[in-house]
Amino acid sequence: MSYLPYAVAAWLFIVGLYGVISSRNLIHLVICVGVIQSSSYVLLLSIGYRAGRVAPIFADIPANTLAVDPIVQALMLTDIVVEVTVIALLLSLAVQIHKRHGTLNPDRLMKVSG
């Protein structure tokens, strides 16, 4: 268990990259980019976790209770916003590409090369 979260983070990164390079559909490709991003969630989350401590919400518990690291959680919140916005942008690019090229298969888009 001590190193499982890190292994999962690495696995998600690699498998997401595989999805991107082998994709035949841009929407699938964009979603795979999201999987790569989720690798960073898992990494940050496991770095911020402290064994035996509680969530950093002091509404119902004494203010001096030991809690997990709130900094990385704040970083992850930013990360999630970045994810949703980047994916929204990429999806709109995919829609336009489909409109102009008539396909979403990256193998068939070869407009810019050389």
Partner: protein
């Protein structure tokens, strides 16, 4: 590269990258035992110094509030980007939604769906507002609540037809309120300067810990963020919906 070559090339590189990840992650402290004085320090000061019971909110909107300003503008910029990329081109027909919408290909929703979504709108809005306003007390805040609020226009679409829906949704107003929400963050930061502090330095009374008015400027920032996120995301969803329903019939 052909597909096959690309896959082989990638798999070889990825094998090396796995080893790189192993080298990087193996010296980490075991899961649950990483140390950070920074995090402990922030946990220790949020309630006594800021009267905020949710430490993550304290980090997001106060201690590292400037990051969140950047983050809000990432969202704002991306929504503008989506509007720019999805804009109607000269060679596409402009406007004239109503006639196109009449013979749209999506079958109309059943009455059951309509009633359900109508019933859902009010609770969704209320829940969203609750989450926005309680950010400094419990989990949640402007972002989470804003996302929930942004789904309300879509529920409205499900319960009405497209035409009344377009009429009911004031897109111009949503755009303006989104921009206002984003600008509010800067205005609040600037107000702190006007009151004699540094940018985003809290100078409002901190209030009673655990109450809605605790945290000084944080609830105000949360409201602005809620406005921005709900406006921005619903704009993006609206643009996608419009693109779906108003495509030129050939």
């Amino acid at each position: 590269m052909t597909r096959r070559v690309r896959k082989i090339f990638f798999l070889l590189s990825a094998a090396a990258l796995v080893w790189v990840f192993f080298l990087a992650y193996s010296p980490l402290a075991p899961f649950g035992y990483v140390q950070s004085k920074y995090g402990d320090m922030v946990n220790a000061i949020t309630v006594p110094e800021r009267h905020i019971t949710d430490a993550v909110t304290a980090v997001n909107f106060d201690v590292r509030g400037f990051d969140t300003l950047g983050e809000e503008f990432i969202l704002f910029t991306s929504v503008m980007g989506v509007l720019l990329l999805m804009r109607r081109q000269k060679d596409e027909p402009a406007g004239d939604h109503e006639d196109k919408a009449a013979d749209r290909m999506i079958p109309p929703a059943s009455d059951a769906v309509r009633v359900t979504s109508l019933l859902l709108i009010a609770p969704t809005v209320l829940f969203g507002l609750y989450i926005v306003t309680h950010g400094q007390v419990t989990p949640g805040g402007g972002f989470q609540g804003g996302v929930i609020l942004s789904t309300a226009p879509l529920l409205l679409y499900l319960c009405a037809d497209y035409r009344p829906f377009r009429r009911a949704v004031p897109q111009r107003l949503i755009e303006a309120s989104e921009a206002f929400g984003a600008a509010a963050y800067i205005l609040i930061g600037g107000a702190c300067v006007a009151l004699g502090g540094l940018f985003l330095q809290n100078s409002l009374p901190l209030g009673q810990s655990g109450s809605l008015t605790s945290g000084g400027m944080v609830p105000f920032i949360n409201l602005g963020v809620g406005l921005e996120v709900s406006g921005g995301l619903s704009l993006a969803l609206l643009v996608y919906l419009e693109e779906l329903l108003e495509e030129k019939e050939q």
